[in-house]
Symmetry: C2
Subunit: 215 residues, 2 copies
């Protein structure tokens, strides 16, 4: 049976779209059980509605404080009973209630090769640092910011003349292949989200998902 | 005229060998003017002697303190009038006298994707951190440890089951292609060692040198 996942977004949902397309193409054995957002205007919600996937908006401002918001978000996500929670361009830090509700079951995609360039502007920080290689990281979400165990990474070149946006676009194209690959690896059992996480097989058929060539 | 370089080593000199082979194959327009070491037993000195390249040993213990050693090393390197100083597995930190004698003209190869994992054990630290991508970096040497401007980087996968030595071996194979590539880029003028350094051309013919595929 396909793995039910909840996808959390804040913006256009390009990573959600990549997951949906991978599922529809038979490359990702998951089912998007719900899409949740902290922003009612997140364009990605439309992608879900088009497919009659349930959506929810849980706005920080609707709650007394961050803790109350975090608890409400955990409650709403849990109502869909997902086997995996995917932060796909979700721009808020999830709190202790979320992490307690889904221990080692929340993954995030970050536009840098962690541990380099955590935080809100991985591509901008990479360009400013003058690195020649950057990439993206899918990791388990823990209490820190971009500090949880790394599940998968992929590299892209930083080309002379790249600005933040040019690099970010190149990284995102890779995210759109890496993130569905990791969801599929969890769904298929190739990747166990134990603590620490464990790849059960050396990359064979999955190698292209795990180490996609930059395009 | 080929760029005269001084190569500093501490061990087997595998990166020196890669440079010599690239020169002999016509892929690197440089000439090794001298090989210097802090260890009289560095096996790489033999590679130089076989080719009748001058060698020097400048041992830290032969001097009163680090400053005197650094000044002596700078004096001995300068006697060969190199256009570029290459630290190729040189396990000592060069000091202010070296940096003042060759401003922005000393490059080092480091077995990690800086700014991740500076210091003495890049491969071991990468394995311990659980990253899935690592690599190597050629950078300009400044007063810090592995902090100078980055010139080139290349990435390798970290495979499940890799230990420090397995990863280090994979990284070194890439170093042996990246470092001669950077030396050639300096020799050909494609890379200007100004402050900050500047690639004069977007990677065209040099792309394979700058972004070699892992093997």
């Amino acid at each position: 049976m396909s793995l039910p996942i909840a996808v959390l977004i804040s913006g256009t949902g390009s990573n959600l779209k990549a997951i949906l397309q991978a599922i529809e193409a038979g490359r990702c054995d998951a089912r998007v059980a719900a899409v949740l957002s902290d922003r009612s205007k997140a364009k990605g919600l439309e992608l879900a509605r088009e497919r009659r996937i349930p959506t929810e908006v849980v706005r920080l401002k609707a709650y007394e404080d961050r803790g109350a918001w975090d608890a409400a978000l955990a409650e709403r996500v849990a109502s869909f009973d997902p086997g995996l929670v995917v932060l796909a361009g979700f721009m808020k830090i999830v709190g202790p209630a979320m992490i307690a509700a889904f221990p080692s079951r929340i993954v995030n995609v970050h536009p840098a090769l962690l541990p380099s360039f955590p935080g809100t502007d991985g591509p901008g920080d990479a360009v400013a640092a003058g690195v020649r290689v950057s990439g993206c990281t899918v990791h388990v979400v823990d209490a820190g910011v971009d500090t949880g165990p790394i599940l998968a990474q992929a590299a892209v070149p930083v080309l002379p003349g790249d600005d933040r946006d040019a690099l970010h676009a190149r990284i995102q194209r890779l995210e759109h292949r890496l993130l569905p690959g990791v969801v599929h690896a969890v769904a298929s059992g190739a990747l166990e989200l134990s603590d620490p996480p464990r790849w059960r097989d050396a990359p064979g058929a999955d190698a292209e998902l795990l180490y996609p060539a930059p395009q």
